[in-house]
């Protein structure tokens, strides 16, 4: 009692000074926290804004590519022009192979038919002065459409002699002209279309013969150089699809198995340390190096075909492998050891403990890692350039061993096409398709994670 009474002021003053210091430091802390929160929010907003700009830009450029100028014509399948023998029928004494041979010969014969004549003939009906400008006339419809006509005849020869109303894609330059993607006031010598052509096109468009129609050409056709208007993504899409298949079948199971072994079974020693370091190194290797490896080893030594999705898939698998291993290992590490102990304590073998208890808990993480790895591989371009997948391929690959391109490479190729006015939209459209594939892969990852997520 006496001590407090002796020095009452000091007893009260001391804590209040301390309080004051705490309050001061609190204010400082709050200011810092606020600043940090605002910084974080700004960073999020900026990145969201950039993503929005990217999407708006790409969609506004790319969506018009799904609608293309098409001319509506009554095509008369003139028997005078399509002079071919009747479609061969299989004889009883004929082997399947012989018949197929005859059928191919028949198709070749159809290939000699001048289907362009069918188109120009029917164009003449809508363009009275057509005969004086036959060269222009042949250029109205894009050259790829004659194959569509041929395919119709092959599929059903009875069409010969009949008339069909068809929507045929116009030449790419007409599409550019009608969409206003070229300055109409440019002088003649700088225009891609002749004056006559421009006059025709405007007239046909005014008459409603040429319309902007939704076209699946972009999805259904392979790339093309002779008929730019019908150049499509199908070949590149299938190429990417086969590569994804190879990656999913190779990199994912191998990566998961390697990760389980390294994490759960391998003894900890110098060798496993070395392996671990090298896996991390592998993840950091620039992707183009994998392309070099693919070119020299897979194509050079193992004589795998150039430009084939199988090679691309193998190279991308190699690239994805470390990603899958690292993701799987970190997932396995995060599973509480108490679960393993519980199983082992009950008499489960190590293998059983892992397969019954650890893996089920790790599946969402493993799947997420795997899918993100696959998505990364899907967007990879550089290694594909080195194994020849940048070459122009005008067919849709029927197997992973045939020549193909890939979506990101197709984007790169179209981006460099001379007919910028036409291919700018198509490039963006290809990007849209690639982005949609990525988004659906990532969506799948999120969905799987939600589905298998369990608490412990």
């Amino acid at each position: 009692m006496t001590i407090i009474a002796e020095n009452p002021i000091k007893a009260v003053a001391a804590p209040s000074q301390v309080q004051q210091k705490v309050i001061d430091s609190l204010n400082r802390r709050h200011r810092k926290e606020n600043l940090f929160r605002r910084l974080g929010l700004t960073a999020v907003l900026i990145s969201l804004g950039l993503v929005a700009v990217l999407f708006i830009n790409i969609f506004s450029k790319g969506l018009p590519a799904f609608w293309q100028s098409a001319v509506t014509l009554d095509i008369y399948f003139d028997p005078q022009i399509i002079k071919i023998p009747p479609m061969p029928q299989q004889r009883d004494d004929e082997s399947d192979n012989d018949f197929r041979q005859r059928h191919i010969e028949w198709q070749t014969e159809i290939g000699f038919v001048n289907f362009n004549r069918l188109i120009t003939d029917s164009l003449q009906k809508v363009l009275p002065d057509a005969n004086k400008h036959r060269r222009d006339l042949a250029r109205v419809v894009t050259s790829g459409e004659r194959f569509a006509l041929r395919d119709m005849v092959v599929a059903d020869p009875s069409i010969i002699g009949q008339t069909r109303t068809l929507h045929l894609l116009t030449d790419a330059n007409i599409d550019v002209w009608l969409k206003g993607n070229i300055d109409r006031s440019l002088p003649d010598e700088q225009q891609q279309l002749s004056a006559k052509m421009r006059e025709w096109v405007d007239k046909l468009s005014a008459d409603g013969v040429i319309q902007n129609r939704f076209s699946l050409a972009l999805f259904m056709n392979p790339d093309s150089r002779s008929s730019l208007a019908s150049a499509g993504l199908a070949g590149a899409f299938m190429g990417s699809f086969y590569m994804m298949l190879v990656v999913i079948l190779l990199a994912v199971p191998m990566g998961v198995a390697a990760a389980i072994y390294l994490e759960e079974f391998a003894p900890r020693n110098k060798i496993t340390d070395l392996v671990e370091v090298n896996i991390n190194n592998l993840a950091a290797v620039p992707s183009i190096v994998f392309g070099l490896l693919g070119a020299s080893v897979l194509i050079g030594w193992f004589n795998l075909p150039m430009s084939a999705p199988i090679v691309g898939g193998l190279v991308l698998s190699l690239m994805t492998l470390p990603t899958v291993i690292i993701a799987t290992r970190s997932t396995l590490k995060a599973i509480p050891p108490s679960i393993r102990q519980a199983a082992l304590g009950l008499g489960a073998s190590k293998m059983q403990a892992i397969f019954h208890h650890v893996l089920p808990l790790a599946i969402p993480g493993i799947l997420t890692g795997a899918i993100l790895g696959v998505a990364q591989a899907l967007g990879e371009t550089a290694p594909l350039l080195l194994i020849g997948m940048k070459s122009f391929v005008a067919s849709i690959p029927a197997s992973p061993f045939e020549q193909a391109s890939a979506l990101p490479v197709q984007i790169y190729l179209w981006q460099g096409n001379e007919l910028r006015n036409f291919f700018e939209a198509r490039t963006s459209a290809a990007i849209i398709v690639l982005l949609l594939m990525m988004i659906s892969l990532n969506g799948l990852a999120i969905w799987l994670r939600k589905k298998y997520e369990k608490r412990w």
């Binding site: 108490s338 009950l346 190590k350 808990l361």
Partner: protein, 256 residues
């Protein structure tokens, strides 16, 4: 009682090394059938390590090396012909932190019996699940929600679930490593009662930091210090009349 009962586990000169670091310096002791023996001693003295020797859980730790012999019913648990799976079915373990599988209550109990093929039919399995839960005193609390996750139970219930899980494979010995350290006094006393009942059928080795608990539940007590077994004897004797100075110091709270 301890003198008349047969020896269940007999350890002699057990040494354990973690890498270069020796954790146990030659422990020898006998554990008798159907007794409760508790291990006490300051933190880090090797109680858990010795407990894990008895069902070879130390095998799962990298760099851990065990020497000496441990006989279960007279048979060396390290002999090559003995499968560790069989050993662990005989010597079950309950851990410090309740660790139910993130599966249903039913699955938690049924896992062990399924693993060892103890039940031929579903009905047998149901019986095992029910009787194990009953013996662990949990049946009435969970019988209506067997299909719900075991992780959804309270801490004390989870620990009893883990005890039920280990008795479901009908072990002969149950090792418990501080089974109550994460529980409140009421849950603790339920488990202590449970231990009292379980000793009719099982031999129980329990590690505890709680001196009162050791005094309450165990028939015999072993005091460990710095990797040595200092004293082992009837619980009453150890607590009221310790033979060693270090035991006395520890029990009376002078250090530890």
């Amino acid at each position: 009682m301890s003198n008349s009962a047969p020896v269940k586990i007999s350890a002699s000169d057990v040494k354990v090394f973690y890498g270069d670091n020796q954790a146990l310096h030659g422990i020898s002791m006998d554990v008798y059938q159907h007794e409760v023996i508790s291990f006490i001693g300051p933190s880090g003295c090797g109680k858990s390590t010795f407990l894990r020797c008895m069902n070879r859980m130390n095998d799962t730790i990298d760099q851990c090396r065990v020497t000496g012999s441990i006989l279960l019913d007279g048979r060396d648990i390290h002999e090559p012909a003995l499968d560790v799976v069989q050993l662990r079915a005989q010597v079950g373990m309950v851990f410090q932190k309740p660790n139910p599988f993130p599966k249903s209550i039913y699955e938690n109990i049924a896992y062990g019996p399924k693993l060892h093929g103890l039940a031929e039919r579903k009905a047998d399995l149901d019986d095992i699940v029910e009787s194990s839960l009953r013996r662990a005193g949990l049946w009435n609390e969970v019988k209506d929600r067997l299909d719900q996750p075991g992780t959804g139970l309270s801490g004390g219930q989870q620990q009893r679930l883990c005890i039920a899980r280990s008795i479901a494979v009908s072990p002969e010995v149950i090792l418990m490593d501080e089974p109550c350290s994460a529980l409140d006094p009421i849950a603790t006393s339920i488990i202590e009662e449970l231990i009292d009942e379980l000793k009719q059928n099982f031999t129980i080795v329990i590690v505890t930091h709680n001196m009162q608990q050791a005094a309450r539940v165990s028939d015999r007590t072993a005091f460990f210090h710095l990797g040595n077994l200092i004293e082992i004897g009837n619980t009453n004797d150890v607590f009221t009349n310790p033979q060693q100075k270090r035991t006395e110091d520890y029990i009376t709270g002078r250090y530890g």
